[in-house]
Amino acid sequence: MTTTAPTAPAAPASLSGAGAVVELDAVEKRYGTHRALAGLSLRVEPGEFLSLLGPSGCGKTTALRALAGLEAIDAGAIRIDGEDVANTPANKRDMGMVFQQYSLFPHMTVRQNVAFGLEMRKVPSSERKSRVVDALDMVHLADFADRFPHQLSGGQQQRVALARALVTRPRVLLLDEPLSALDAKVRVSLREEIRRIQSDLGITTVFVTHDQEEALAVSDRIAVMNAGDIEQIGTPEELYRSPSSAFTADFVGQSNRLGGDLRGGDVFVYGFRVPALDLTVADGPVLAYVRPEDIAFAAEGVTGRVVSSSFLGSIRRTTVRLDDDTIVTVQHEVGDRRVSGDSVAVRLLGAPVAVAPVS
C-alpha cells in the first residue's frame, strides 16, 4: 500500500447513492440436517456499516450469500427497501460484493474488470469511461487501469474488487471477509479505506468477518452470530462493555473465565464483589468473564506467580498463575515490567462482568 494518501478525495458524486434498508426476516437455510441459518432476523439501517461476526460455521457467510442471492433460502423473507428479493436471482439484486478470494477476472485489465458491471447494465460507453476512472480514483488505483490482476498485489486486487463492486452504485455493499487473505499491515489500512469510502458514499454495508478486532474497529453495529442466529447485536462499545451472554463476552475481546458465586445480582470472585451484567442467571456458582483491563496488580489481593508477559506497544499483558492454579491475564502499563516467576497479587477493579451458570 503505497498510496494510503492523507489527501483522500471525497467520494465522487457519480458513485454515491442513497443507502437502502436491508431486512432479513426469520430466514432459514438448511444443509441436510444442519441448520446454517436458524430463523435469522436482522435489520440494517440506510447507510449503516453492520458486521456479522462469529466463529467459522456460525452462518455469517451463509447469511451474506443468501442476501446476495448466491444461496437460496428455505424459509423467511429478504427485503431491500421493503421489496422482497428472496426469489430474485443474484444478477438482478443490484448488490455489490467483494469476496474473500481474489475474484478479479484474470483475463481482463483492471479497467475492463471495473467496467464489467456497467456493461451488464448497458451504461453508454462515454459515461462508463468516466465512472470507471472515478471508481479507480476512489481506491487510488487510477494509474493501474491497464494492468492485469496478476500484476497487482493482493491489497490492490481487493481495492479493484471494491471499485468494481461500487461502480454500479449498488443498493447494498456486501463484504465477505475481503481482508482475510492480506497481510496484517495491508489489512488494517484497507479496512480503514473501506470504512472511509463507505461513509463517504453512504452505502448500506454488510461486512462478514471472524476477526473481532476488525469488526470492533470499523462497524457502526456488530451482530455476533452463533449457531445460525444472532447472539447479540449492538455497537462495538455495547458488545465489549456489556456482553449479554458468555458467548459474546468470550468472542468479543479477551476475557478471563473465573469461578464465582452469584448472589442478588452481584458476583463474588475471590472475595471481590462485582456487578453481574446478565440478571437472568440464577443465584449460585457461576463463571464470571472478567476483561484483562478490569484486573490490576495490587499490594494485597489474590496471590500468584507471573508466567509470562507480552509487550503490546502501548500496553503490556501479563499472565499470572494464581495459587489455586487458575490462569489470569492482567492488562497494565508498559512501565510496570513483570518477569516470569515474580510473586504478585492481583485484584478485580469491579467493572460489571458477564456471567454464565456453571454447568
Binding site: 446476495a68 444478477n91 460484493m97 477476472f105 458491471g117 451488464m120 496478476h150 468494481r164
Partner: protein, 312 residues
Amino acid sequence: MAAVSAGAPARPAGPARPAGPARSARTSRPARTGGPARAPRFGTAPSLGTAAVVLIVVGLVFAVPLVALLQFTFRQGTDGSLTTAHYTALADPANAGTYQPVFDGLGASLLIAVIAVAIVLLVLLPAQVITALHHPRLRRILEFVCLVPITVPVVVLVVGFVPVYQFVAQVFGSGAWTLSFAIGIIALPFAFRPISAAITAMDLITLTEAARSLGASWWTVTWRVLLPNLRRGILAACFLTITVVLGEYTLASFLSRTTFQTALLLVQGTDPYVAAIFSLGALVFGFLLLVAIGRIGQRRTRVRRPHPKDPA
C-alpha cells in the same frame, strides 16, 4: 500472489560473508560466470553432462525411426540412391486410382475429428463446467468415467461396439463419420485432463459468483468469463482429440470403416512409399499440434511474471 517481493535483485551471495579459505572462493561466485565444473551443486537438478546424455539418448530414440522413414520416402529401389519421384507421383493423375483411398480416408478422418471435437465442446465441456459449479461431489465420478476408456484395450472396447454399431448403422447409415461417436469416447481421457486442469487453475465458483453479482446472465458468465479463462484447456483438449482421431486404427478396422489409418494400410500393399509419406505428414501434423498446445501454455506463463515496480 499475496505477497509480492520488493523486487530487489537476487544477490549471488551475502556481501558480509567472512572470506574463509577455499570454500568462500567457490560459493561467492555466481554460477553463471563460475562455470559448472568446480561450483558446488545444490538442488535436485542433474548435472549438465547427465542432462545432455539423457536428452541425446531420448532424442535419438525418437529421431532415428523418423529419419529412417523420411529417408525411405526418397529411396529409389534397393541400390540406395535417392529420388523425389514418390512425391511428384502423388500429383500425377495417372496414379489417382491408387491414392484415392488415402485421400478418402483422410477426408473421413478429418470429418470424424470435427465431430469428435464437437462432442468434446458440446458434451464434455459443459458436463465438466456444470459439475465443477453445481455438483463438485460428482467430479470424481465424472473423472472416473472419462478415464475408463484409457484402461480398457481398444480391442476389448470394439467387442462391445460391434452390436452397438449394428444399431448405429440402422439409424445413421454406415458412413465413416459414425465412427466419431466411438472415437469420441476413446478421446475422452485425453480431452478430460486439460479441461479439468484449466478448471482447477481458475477459481471457477468465485469468478462466476462475482460476475453474477455484477449483473451477468448465465449466458454472459459462460461467454465472457468462463470460456476465455478455460481457453487454453479447451484448445489443448481439441488438439489432443484430433491427434487421437488421426492415429486411430483399431476401431475403424474392426468396424470396417475407411479412415486415414486403414487407408494407409491398404495403400501400403501397392505403394509403400506413399504410405510412408502420409504417415510422416500425419506425424508432423501431430507434432505441430503439440507444439501449438505448448505455445498456448507458454504465452500465458510468460505474462505471469510479477511486475517489477509492484509495491507489496
